[in-house]
Symmetry: C2
Subunit: 297 residues, 2 copies
């Protein structure tokens, strides 16, 4: 069923005259006649009673007239609506990040953007940054805030937002296993320290590398998913942890831990936003990406 048939039917039912209706439709009477025949064939009913001299609507025709008008109206409406949707960006953007990131970066990142694109809704998923890239690669989330990996997958675009140092943290309460002179680390004073590290992710990799360089196999007290939980456990006195400094800065437990200024220092690492290259084609994703790019050239 083509909407042209509906238009023809409506003009026909208004004029009740094939000749005049055909002028209004910019077509020939024969086309109109065949349009009506096709419509009636599809509906298996007679819409217009006609002979060579009279044209009149059947009850079904009267009924169908309402349908036809409504249907064409709805079509015009959806066209307008979609045009508006296109002019003003709409839809969801889902972002995966750590709790810390949701406190620190996100507000600044989104505050302007929300005002500029009120049609876009954000869905936040928080969790261990170690999962961030997989969430994006699998398409579960559009974007993620994550440490930049050494070799980003080619399917991903990455944009640095800030650099953060990794720091060792220890409980403020005394403990006999605490290294006495962290400024000059030795294998001896670290090998007995109970360590609380990430299960996976860049912070774990850097910590492992650090210990390896020192020639120590660390004593792993706990492996934790999520940096925030590391702060908790260290605060409770269970051991020494390695977390991004930014996590510490945003932690409500910052007072119950202290930074150990170890030498050599753990490396800095980039924290940034990542997205699938192909999703950058989506206008709303592209808009956010560009908004972020302006702030972080």
């Amino acid at each position: 069923m083509d909407f042209r048939l509906l238009k023809h039917f409506i003009t026909l039912s208004d004029t009740l005259h094939f000749g005049r209706a055909s002028e209004q439709c910019h077509t020939s009477p024969s086309t109109l006649s065949r349009s009506l025949q096709q419509l009636e064939r599809e509906l298996s009913t007679t819409l217009i009673e006609r002979d060579n001299r009279h044209v009149s609507l059947t009850p079904q025709g009267v009924h169908f007239q309402r349908y036809a008008r409504d249907t064409l109206d709805q079509w015009e409406t959806i066209k307008r609506t979609l045009a508006n949707d296109a002019a003003q960006l709409t839809g969801d953007i889902s972002i995966y990040c750590s709790v810390t990131a949701s406190y620190s970066f996100l507000y600044e990142l989104l505050s302007d953007f929300r005002l500029q694109h009120p049609g876009i809704e954000f869905k936040l998923h928080t969790g261990d940054p170690a999962n961030a890239m997989n969430r994006v690669l699998s398409g579960d989330d559009d974007m993620a805030i994550t440490p930049r990996p050494r070799t980003p997958p080619p399917a991903l675009a990455f944009k640095s937002l800030t650099r953060s140092s990794l720091v060792f943290i220890a409980p403020t309460t005394p403990a006999d296993w605490l290294p006495h002179t962290p400024e000059s680390s030795t294998a001896q004073q670290w090998e007995a320290v109970p360590m609380i590290l990430s299960e996976a992710g860049l912070s774990r990799e850097y910590a492992d590398t650090w210990f390896k360089a020192l020639g120590v196999t660390p004593r792993i007290y706990a492996q934790v998913a999520g940096h925030e939980a590391i702060v908790s456990m260290v605060g409770l006195g269970f051991g020494v942890g390695v977390v991004p400094k930014i996590v510490l800065d945003n932690s409500p437990l910052a007072d119950s831990v202290k930074v150990l200024h170890v030498k050599p220092e753990l490396p800095y690492y980039d924290v940034g936003l990542c997205v699938l290259n192909r999703r950058l084609k989506r206008p709303r994703i592209q808009a956010l990406w560009e908004a972020v790019s302006e702030r972080h050239p």
Copy 2:
């Protein structure tokens, strides 16, 4: 816009896969691709984001999905509705008749039919039977109850329902102009009688003929549209009238008038139903016509 495009879009948005969708649509992937392109061209927007490996709905696509489903649903609904309309006759039938006919014939005529075809509504127009045929010829009414004319127009079909006599009626109150021996009419005793006749119509023609045969030019006291009004005027004592006997039988004023048994008697005439031949093609008209034909073979 063809509904095929909507079907293709819906299957595509369900499967998010051109190959599988094309199987469900019994068509080729390239057709599907072109359907979507055409749809997007008509809407000037992107409904489905796609590359060689991924297919996903845009926000506009999600929006349009609802529209497409609704539109196809409505199409199915109107198809079913019209099929019912066709199976069970619907629409209006307008009947023109005199007030008397509406009392006497009509109830009997329509009582069964209404039960059998509850979808048909009747519109009754009452008025002077003299207008009846014109109302039908002009298409203002579908049918009329009317005296059968001497030569019915070829465009009309006519079916006799009953025969009725025309009678002279006089007031029951005494009046000096009343003919003394109506059983043997003479020109002398009629020429002074104030007559109350129809303006037009068969009863008037027959009355005129009757007076002509008697060699009298009647004294017309009043010309009235509608037989019922004649009974009223006669009952009030204004003169002698000519009405179909059936009008008298159904008149609430029957007691205030009396029948004059004149010789020669006025002729009988057929009262029946008439309709435009071409309107007999309409199913509901045809159904009523046939129902009447069964009762009046």
